[in-house]
């Protein structure tokens, strides 16, 4: 069965890729399987300078999910290019560079830094970061700010730009349309939902950062709803992410309108999840009457 999908900058052999932040720079999971099996690899977010991240505890398990507040720990874009990307070049797989920042200028500088490598097929713009200059408000929660950072990163990049949307907004469609107009080549959705867990023994939030991002199957219905709504309002392709555990979950995202998907939290429970989904997807598509991945995209929408 044909699992391939063609997206801006990304010729995917199949629609399965690990989500940013859950897969580091690939080396760890290459102990379990050949990374060339994947549709793409999305690397951990790069910032301009090294970040040491938040204090611990950084993760907490929740019902069918988890909270994390890693705090964008990464060695900085230059070291990522020099020390992490060369290993991934051993594999026949497109690499998506996730970029983050605390100012529009930082995003721009990180995007420009990636221009010096030919190893990147696309950029994924993480706009769920707090904008330090604007009092910590997330870039992704205001359509004008989201559009501005998209425009600037697009101008600073020589590869297609996918904007990863935050679900922590009242109207995700408005943000999606704003970044589409600003030149985004695609969308990734959704990032984590803001959450908290309180430790009963210590009577305080369990995470050192107090709040964290909720991910895993617990958020899948929210992700499906948002992909479905945005699919009807934009023309650019959507990469769906949020709680995928099974081939049926992948198909559900395709029906909602995603052209490809990312798998995050499930990697922690089962390091083989991505190759297993790739293997199981053809039978699942066939079971529900599809002959290819492309045929299923958006088929959950009907004019009534």
């Amino acid at each position: 069965m044909n699992l391939s999908v063609k997206l801006p900058g990304l010729n995917l052999k199949n629609p399965i890729m690990p989500a940013s932040g859950c897969f580091s720079f690939g080396k760890e999971y290459s102990q379990f399987y050949d990374l060339s099996k994947l549709g793409a690899v999305v690397i951990k977010a790069a910032t301009l300078n090294e970040r040491l991240g938040n204090p611990t505890p950084r993760v907490a398990e929740t019902y069918s999910g988890m909270l994390n507040a890693i705090g964008l720990q990464n060695p900085g874009v230059e070291r990522i290019i020099d020390q992490e990307l060369p290993y991934l070049k051993n594999y026949d797989v497109p690499i998506v560079a996730n970029i983050a920042g605390s100012s529009v200028e930082e995003y721009e500088q990180v995007a420009r830094a990636f221009q010096r490598t030919d190893g990147i097929a696309a950029v994924e713009l993480n706009i769920s970061c707090p904008n330090v200059k604007e009092g910590g408000l997330q870039f992704g929660t205001n359509p004008d700010v989201a559009a501005e950072v998209t425009r600037r990163v697009k101008a600073a990049s020589n590869v297609p730009v996918y904007v990863k949307l935050t679900p922590n907004v009242t109207n995700v469609v408005e943000i999606a349309q704003a970044v589409e107009q600003a030149g985004a080549d695609g969308l990734t959705m959704i990032n984590s939902l803001t959450g908290m867990q309180i430790d009963l023994q210590n009577r305080r939030p369990l995470l050192a950062n107090k709040v964290g991002g909720l991910t895993g199957p617990a958020i899948k219905p929210v992700a499906i709803r948002m992909v479905y709504q945005v699919y009807q309002a934009v023309k650019i392709p959507i990469i769906g992410v949020g709680g995928i555990m099974t081939a049926e979950d992948v198909l559900e995202f395709l029906l909602a309108g995603a052209s490809a998907v990312q798998v995050g939290t499930a990697n922690f429970q089962n390091p083989m999840i991505c190759p297993e989904l790739i293997e199981q997807l053809p039978a699942c598509l066939a079971k529900y009457g599809f002959k290819s991945v492309e045929e299923a995209i958006g088929k959950g929408h009907h004019s009534e």
């Binding site: 859950c22 760890e28 993760v59 939290t265 922690f268």
Partner: protein, 255 residues
């Protein structure tokens, strides 16, 4: 490191809310495991528990193809593990992390200091040290008498001191009270336990070279998610507890 599906040989409550789990694993793999390494256990199938549980290796018996871990029930996930039955299969990542570097250390007498669920990895360490002809003295601390385990097992390997916070057994107080009041001869120390205990042990034994094993809430267990980190001693770097540790030279990390 590998992902394995293995059968449970036996599970037994050996102290209050503390369980010993014996697993059947092929000899060739067991022979590679170093004291201080851990396994990452998937709680069950399905999506209820998205994170595995990291548990230190407590003992290995090559003749029986047996790996032993000891864990305490802290929440729903560890409670589910207590209901495992003989013959049931569980999913592991094994072995993970770096163990105590006993192959590269010249010593005559080791001091082992453990607290609560930090005690189990010290047992396989003690056995390995004794096998190499190194003398072992062990100091283990628990909150209360009901929680004590493995005192007899450690006693077959060397001198043992037990403390309880409430004084219901052994020395009343903390492991550091034993370090303070007993004349202990040793040239290296090895410690595992909760962070406040490790901090106190490191402070008290700072004239001696030693290794400590850290615990932290973990995600992937293989170095990909950056959940379990500890600052390097100079504060300039983060070390991953799952892959750079969990055992560190006591001078290497900021605790």
């Amino acid at each position: 490191m590998r992902q394995l599906i293995v059968p449970v040989l036996e599970i037994e409550e050996i102290a209050k809310a503390t369980y010993q789990l014996d697993l059947e694993i092929e000899k060739s793999l067991l022979a590679q495991i170093k004291p201080g390494q851990f396994i990452h256990i998937r709680v069950n199938q399905g999506s209820e528990f998205m994170l595995r549980r990291p548990i230190s290796v407590a003992d290995i018996d090559l003749s029986l193809n047996k790996l032993t871990v000891i864990f305490k029930v802290f929440g729903k996930g560890t409670d589910v593990l207590t209901h495992l039955k003989t013959g049931e299969l569980i999913d592991l990542l094994i072995p993970l992390g770096n163990g105590y570097p006993i192959e590269s250390i010249e010593m005559e007498h080791a001091l082992l200091v453990g607290g609560g669920v930090g005690v189990p990895p010290l047992y396989y360490l003690a056995k390995s040290l004794v096998e190499k002809g190194i003398k072992v003295t062990t100091v283990i601390g628990f909150q209360t008498k009901d929680e004590i385990f493995y005192e007899k097992e450690f006693a077959t390997l060397g001198e043992v001191f037990v403390t309880t916070d409430d004084g219901s057994y052994g020395t009343k107080g903390y492991v550091t009270d034993v370090l303070q009041h007993e004349e202990l001869n040793f040239d290296y120390y090895f410690s595992c336990g909760p962070a406040p205990m490790l901090k106190a042990v490191k402070k008290y034994l700072h004239y001696f070279p030693g290794y400590i094993s850290l615990e932290e809430r973990m995600g992937c267990g293989i170095g990909a998610c950056y959940a379990c980190v500890v600052k390097s001693a100079d504060g300039k770097d983060q070390k991953k507890i799952c892959t750079d540790g969990p055992v560190f030279n006591a001078t290497e990390v900021m605790i």
